[in-house]
Symmetry: C2
Subunit: 218 residues, 2 copies
C-alpha cells in the first residue's frame, strides 16, 4: 500500500524550514522509521541542503542521510526506510533522478515495498504522473517529462489563484494549466496552495492544511 | 546584417494587442516589406490567433499570412519577406518549429538573407540561444531547449522584479535565473520588463520602451 505525503512548499511565509508540516511528517513516519533518505538533487549545493534537512529531521527525532553521501544512489534507495525528496528546480531534480537510474526503483520501492515517500515542491512534482505542470525554469533538459508516477495525476505546487487586480500580462497559473489540458492525454491537475499537503494512503487521498487545493480536469 | 525586434509582451495592461509596439514595428519593417509571415504555433487555435495578428498588421499597413495556411512550412519560410513569431507557450512553439524542420532555416534566412524577424514573448524566447529562461509550463517535451540562436544570449520576457512585500514562497524570477547561472555554460540573460523591446541590428542592440531591462551575467 503506497503511502505519500506531498507537500506544496517546504517553507511557509513567516516560519522556518518545514515548520508548518513537522507534525504531519511525524504522524506520517511514526516510530516505524528511524532514518530517512534525503534526495537534495533539486539544489546546486547538496551538502548545505542536506544539513538543513538533517537539522529539521533530527528535531523531529529521525536520522537523515543525503543520497549523495552514499557510494551508490541505487544501493541507497534499495536500503531506504523512507524517502524525502526536497524542493528546488524540478528539471534539475528529474534529470538527476534519470541520470542516477533511480526513477523506476523509487516507484517499485514505494508502490510494492511500502516505503513511505515525502515530497516537497519539486519533490512533489516528481512523485506524480509528470512534471508538465511545474512552475520552474527549464534550466536543464531531462530526457522526458514523465516522472516517478506514484499517483495517476499531476500537481501544481505553490498554486496561486488568479489576482483580479494584477497588471502583469504573463499567463496566470490557471491559464497555463488550461493550456496543458488542450492535449487529450493530459491527466487531472491538483493545484496545491502554499500550506497545503496531500496525504495518499493506498487509493485514498486526503487534503491536509488550511489553504486547500483546486482541481483542474480536462 | 541580422535585424530583430524582440518584444517582451504582445499586450500591455490597459491597451490592445500590439498597441504599445505598433510604431516600433512600422519603423522596423518600413516600406521594404509588404507581407509578413506569422507563426502562431505557440497557441492551440492557430486560425483565431492569425486573425488577431492579421487585424493588427493590416492596421499598420501590412498583409499577413499564417504559416499553417501554407502547404509547406519550409516553403513559406523560404518565401517570407519578414517573419513574426507570436507568444503563447514556449515549449509548444519550439517543439513545433523542430517538428516542421524550420529552426535552421529561419536562422539562415534572418542571419544571411537579411529577413527581418519580430518576436513577442515566446517568439522572443525562441529567437535567442535557448528557451532555458522561459516562464512557461513545460506542457510538451521538445527534443532540445536550444533555440533558433539569432543572438548569443537568453531573454526572460515579462521580467518581474522581486516584490519585497510578497508572502508567496515560490522562487522569484531573479532566483530562477541565478539557478540557471549555476551552470558554467549558461550565457547572459536579459530580463525584459513588460513594455520593453530589444532592437537588434547587426552587432548592435538597443533597448526601446520605457520600462527597461535587467542584465544577469554568470
Amino acid at each position: 500500500m503506497r503511502r505519500l505525503l506531498l507537500i506544496s512548499n517546504s517553507t511557509l511565509h513567516g516560519s522556518g524550514y518545514l515548520d508548518h508540516c513537522k507534525e504531519q511528517i511525524k504522524s506520517f513516519l511514526s516510530c516505524s522509521v528511524q532514518k530517512v533518505l534525503f534526495v537534495p538533487y533539486a539544489l546546486h549545493d547538496r551538502d548545505a541542503y542536506t544539513k538543513l534537512a538533517r537539522t529539521a529531521f533530527n528535531e523531529m527525532g529521525y536520522d537523515l542521510d543525503g543520497i549523495h553521501e552514499h557510494k551508490s544512489a541505487v544501493e541507497a534507495v534499495n536500503a531506504a526506510q523512507a524517502i524525502f525528496i526536497g524542493g528546488g528546480n524540478t528539471f534539475r531534480l528529474l534529470k538527476t533522478l534519470y541520470d542516477e537510474k533511480i526513477v523506476d526503483l523509487i516507484r517499485e520501492r514505494v508502490t510494492n515495498e511500502n516505503v513511505p515517500y515525502i515530497g516537497s515542491s519539486a519533490g512533489t512534482n516528481v512523485a506524480t504522473h509528470s512534471i508538465n505542470t511545474t512552475n520552474d525554469m527549464p534550466i536543464v533538459h531531462p530526457p522526458t517529462f514523465d516522472a516517478i508516477g506514484l499517483v495517476p495525476f499531476n500537481i501544481n505546487p505553490h498554486y496561486l489563484d488568479p489576482d483580479p487586480n494584477s497588471k502583469h500580462m504573463g499567463e496566470t497559473r490557471e491559464a497555463r494549466i488550461k493550456q496543458y489540458h488542450e492535449y487529450e492525454t493530459s491527466p487531472p491537475v491538483l493545484g496545491l496552495r502554499e500550506g497545503c499537503i496531500l496525504l495518499v494512503e493506498g487509493d485514498k487521498a486526503t487534503l491536509k492544511g488550511k489553504t486547500g487545493a483546486r482541481l483542474f480536469v480536462r
